[in-house]
């Protein structure tokens, strides 16, 4: 049970308060971007390239313009006149808004049709005739590195190959020495497939430019409204759109998962169209456009190696990565970290030597590399370390649970410095795995497995004991396009003791309206239900870097706590004044100050707030407001111990997930119900790449599963019954000891599932399976081993 310091009426931390936002969602009163309708609004649709690599010979818009309601067809050449045909990516690469001569991936934007209705815009899109000269694309990232491969980014001056950057970290020489001398060395090649966030709501916007005021109101699906405002100002400043004239409004968002961090060409074209025509322009992607053209996630080819002793001590790891970034590096990583937080890949284990390197390449695929429910490449790293740890256990013939227990960093060794330089804040990995093992009856399952194997049945148990790295981040290391990754909270308490709180983050379903209110309620004792939380309007909210990578609780949640503490300090002063005692004589109980030893002499927080407007001490600033910009001193390091049990049918390769136990440690818990909901969603998005999802391209660059008919997003039918639990190891540096949880399950689940399936197949000499592990892959592997 989570201990609560506040009453249910106040509902501070630890209460499973029902989500305040759900009322409007359940009543169909949500306000999503496609609900926004403005007078004289026009509609935009986008013509997209059928080819992965082609020169545009001609765009014939005659037939489109003849359709009633079609007003304009905007091409790259049109935008070029205003120098709006290209834009910077978050990784300081460049990206076309619309092409002037060459298309670089299938489904790339070619031109845009503006019309008076959505139907006319779609008809216009179908009527635009584009002729192309098709070229042979570069699809395989390994071939892209060949000296003979055509150079794709000829727009970049002096570019002579498809290499983007090289990154390396760790102890290269020491790693090589340990690997050369180690008793046991294991190695596996792994592909973390290209996947898509597939949020229920696709991307879209309404760009509303007012010529007379030179004002742009931009309603859009973005996880980071302030950052977007600054980016628009940087890209469009030269046409007179300066930052004070730009208002970005991110209304209700139907799922983001990282996919709504980037700036997509569609947003920019809509702005340009509204700017040129002088009317609001709405653009809403359809499902296939979203899947085919928006930023992908993952796509890391990893060679993972582990060196250790025969009795199970891990000595060193080595990871070599090839990162397929598609046409441009449009990842959403902090500037200094081209591979994001991949360097968490040394895992939860106590050893001091590792070396990691990555080369990024261009191919003719859509750009991206978004942090899909993952703190910048943590999913890739965790898959590599957790899989290779199992491979190591298999090699030495020791149970993977024992190997983990043997190598875990001990509770008392925190804060712990990783070989890659991170300072893990806190953790109790032994307790987490023990709880997971007890919950699932691990040793009982191992016995059952031995019996089933005798009968020729395939049963597997997989463990994943991951360490996460979230809450980006401390300003000394973390920025996006130069802007430091702090976040903010502003609290205004009205005279009657009710409050509004605004944040630089933006909920997309995480429940911020509830959890932020609970944090403030915890500190100030004002009931959470009386605290209105508002995000997403850059004209009203304080500046922040937005919500992704489980950063909101570690940053904005901390800002809320610190701002509330500033107010509590003021409340104490006012209470002392009202009760005519010194501040030291006061004692706090959630919601009120009373005089020590005289509990009848009391002032409630509501009375104190009222006094701050009506009867405050001379010289004190009136009102009850506070703002805080929180710059975290360190990242937070949530962890988890997951155990998955599968049975595999030999004849069909079908995989049945029998049990899945997830023990998470996200530090102090704000709302257990919301955490559980986050974990359920995250686990389902973890089973997705493990068993179902992958964006598949053929050698011509055609996406072969560009609809949800073929791209398999798991539904309730595919989802097992999740068994969740937690250990609580507070973060020592976070104001409320919280760590963040949203992404943990997505990060931790895939290797647990893969390890379970490989464990089931291991009696037949199978040591690794590439995700997504489909029945066909299983059947094929068993057939190759002569089992079926």
């Amino acid at each position: 049970m989570i201990e609560c310091k506040t009453s249910k009426a106040i509902s501070g931390m630890g209460h499973s308060m029902k989500r305040k936002e759900d009322g409007r969602f359940l009543h169909g009163q949500g306000n999503y971007v496609d609900d926004i309708k403005l007078p004289d609004m026009l509609y935009m649709d986008i013509v997209r390239s059928p080819y992965a690599y082609a020169k545009i010979k001609n765009i014939d818009s005659t037939a489109a313009l003849a359709i009633p309601g079609v007003l304009a067809v905007i091409t790259g050449k049109d935008l070029e006149q205003y120098n709006l045909h290209w834009m910077p990516t978050l990784m300081s690469d460049t990206q076309m808004v619309l092409p002037t001569d060459t298309v670089m991936y299938q489904a790339q934007e070619v031109c845009a049709v503006i019309a008076t209705s959505r139907y006319a815009a779609r008809d216009g899109r179908e009527a635009v005739k584009v002729s192309y000269e098709v070229m042979k694309p570069v699809i395989d990232p390994y071939k892209a590195m060949d000296a003979s491969a055509p150079v794709l980014r000829t727009d970049k001056e002096g570019k002579k190959d498809n290499h983007i950057w090289h990154w390396e970290a760790g102890q290269k020489e020491r790693t090589e020495k340990i690997f050369a001398e180690a008793e046991v060395v294991v190695k596996e090649q792994m592909h973390i497939p290209r996947i898509h966030v597939s949020s229920i709501e696709t991307c879209g916007c309404v760009a509303d430019y007012h010529k007379v005021n030179n004002q742009l109101n931009m309603y859009m699906t973005t996880q980071a409204p302030h950052a977007i405002r600054t980016v628009i100002a940087l890209v469009a400043g030269h046409v007179g759109l300066t930052e004070e004239k730009i208002r970005v409004i991110s209304p209700d968002i139907g799922g983001g998962f990282g996919g709504k961090v980037p700036v997509y060409p569609g947003y920019v074209i809509a702005i340009a169209a509204s700017f040129l025509i002088g009317q609001p322009v709405k653009w809403i992607e359809d499902r296939s456009e979203n899947l085919q053209a928006d930023s992908f996630a993952r796509d890391y080819h990893i060679t993972a190696e582990m060196a250790g002793t025969k009795d199970g001590k891990i000595l060193a790891t080595r990871f070599k990565i090839l990162a397929d970034h598609g046409y441009t590096d449009a990842s959403a990583n902090p500037s200094k970290f081209p591979t994001g937080m991949f360097s968490i890949g040394t895992g939860s284990y106590d050893y001091d030597t590792s070396f990691m390197e990555c080369d990024a390449v261009y191919t003719n695929k859509p750009p991206g590399g978004v942090a899909y429910r993952c703190s910048f490449r943590v999913t890739e790293a965790v898959h590599a370390i957790e899989r290779i740890t199992d491979r190591f256990s298999l090699e030495i013939g020791k149970d993977p649970a024992d190997v983990r227990m043997q190598n875990f960093i001990k509770k008392e060794d925190f804060p712990w410095k990783s070989p890659m330089g991170w300072e893990y804040d806190s953790g109790d990995y032994h307790a987490g795995l023990k709880l997971a093992m007890d919950t699932v009856d691990y040793w009982g399952l191992r016995k059952k497995q031995a019996e089933m194997r005798k009968e020729g049945k395939l049963m597997g148990i997989g463990i994943s004991t991951f360490t996460e790295i979230v809450g980006a981040g401390p300003s000394k290391d973390f920025d996006i396009l130069g802007i430091k990754m702090f976040d903010s909270a502003e609290i205004r308490v009205h005279p009657t003791g009710k409050a509004i709180a605004r944040f630089g983050t933006k909920s997309q379903g995480q429940g911020h309206e509830t959890t932020y209110a609970q944090i403030i309620a915890e500190v100030l004792g004002i009931p959470a239900e009386n605290i209105q939380v508002e995000e997403g309007d850059t004209d009203t909210a304080p500046y922040g870097l937005g919500t992704y990578a489980s950063r909101s609780t570690p940053t904005a949640g901390a800002a809320a706590a610190v701002a509330a503490r500033k107010l509590k300090d003021k409340a104490r002063k006012i209470a002392a004044y009202l009760l005519e005692v010194s501040e030291e004589d006061l004692e706090w109980e959630p919601g009120k100050f009373f005089v020590k030893g005289a509990p009848e002499k009391v002032k409630t927080i509501q009375e104190i707030v009222f006094a701050s407007y009506t009867n405050f001490p001379q010289g004190m600033e009136a009102g009850f407001e506070a703002t805080h910009y929180y710059d975290p001193p360190n990242l937070t390091f949530p962890s988890g111990a997951y155990i998955c049990v599968v049975e595999v049918d030999k004849e069909t390769g079908a995989i049945d997930v029998k049990r899945f136990v997830a023990i998470d440690d996200c530090g102090n818990i704000i709302n257990p119900m919301i955490v559980q909901g986050q974990v359920h969603g995250g686990l389902t998005q973890g089973i997705a790449p493990a068993m179902y999802e992958e964006l598949i391209y053929d050698e011509d660059g055609n996406i072969l599963n560009g609809t949800l008919m073929d791209y398999l997003v798991p539904t309730a039918v595919e989802s097992p019954s999740w068994e969740t639990g937690h250990t609580v190891t507070p973060s020592p540096h976070h104001p409320i000891g919280a760590k963040g949880v949203g992404e943990s399950p997505t990060v931790g689940a895939p290797p647990a599932i893969a390890n379970a399936i490989v464990d089931a197949l291991s009696p037949y000499g199978i040591t690794h399976m590439e995700i997504p592990i489909t029945p066909f892959k299983v059947w094929k592997a068993l057939k190759e081993k002569g089992v079926v």
Binding site: P50, Y51, V128, S131, D700, N702
Partner: protein, 178 residues
């Protein structure tokens, strides 16, 4: 994506007649479902159209057909078809090799292999169907070709894979087949 189909069949006609029908563009095009000739460029190059429906996806290709080889001595022909979708939504390429061999009793063995490569919207939406549809189209082509050799009126050479899929689905789920 590329699909390969290789099939052989026997017809009850002498090799010279089969060869004449197979290598005559006007005659052969009548047998290709959904295809028509629009222009003769020269003796080896012809322009034509092919329309296909894959469920909801309609594809119409304007193409150039080129005889790369027509060797009457070895009875081997190689034909290349290149088509652009009429609306710029993709393209298709077909390389076909046909070899005739003489059988006993005036029969002729026809061996045809085709590589079909499609790019663009059809590849995106129809990739799972391409092999099945191509096989069906090929079988229909063979039927039409046989009919033509037999002197029968070539049947309706239009095809809709959508309606074909409909009948497949009905077949699977036991719907009313009438």
């Amino acid at each position: 994506m590329t699909t390969n189909i290789a099939k052989g069949f026997v017809v009850n006609h002498p090799i010279a007649m089969v060869w004449e029908n197979l290598t005559n563009p006007e005659k052969i095009v009548n047998c290709v479902p959904g295809a028509s000739l629009t222009e003769t460029v020269d003796e080896n190059n012809y322009k034509g159209k092919v329309s296909l429906k894959f469920g909801p996806v309609k594809a119409g290709y304007d193409g150039l057909i080129t005889f790369l080889e027509r060797d009457a001595a070895t009875h081997k022909m190689v034909l290349k078809g290149l088509g652009d979708d009429e609306k710029g939504k993709g393209n298709a390429e077909m390389n076909m090799t046909g070899i005739l061999t003489e059988e006993a009793d005036g029969q002729t063995n026809v061996n045809v292999s085709m590589d079909i490569t499609i790019t663009g919207m059809l590849a995106q939406f129809g990739s799972r169907l391409i092999t099945d549809v191509s096989n069906t189209v090929f079988d229909q082509f063979v039927g039409n070709f046989k009919d033509q050799l037999d002197g029968k009126e070539a049947g309706d050479n239009s095809i809709s894979a959508g309606s074909m899929m409909g009948s497949m689905v009905k077949g699977i789920f036991g719907g009313n087949k009438s």
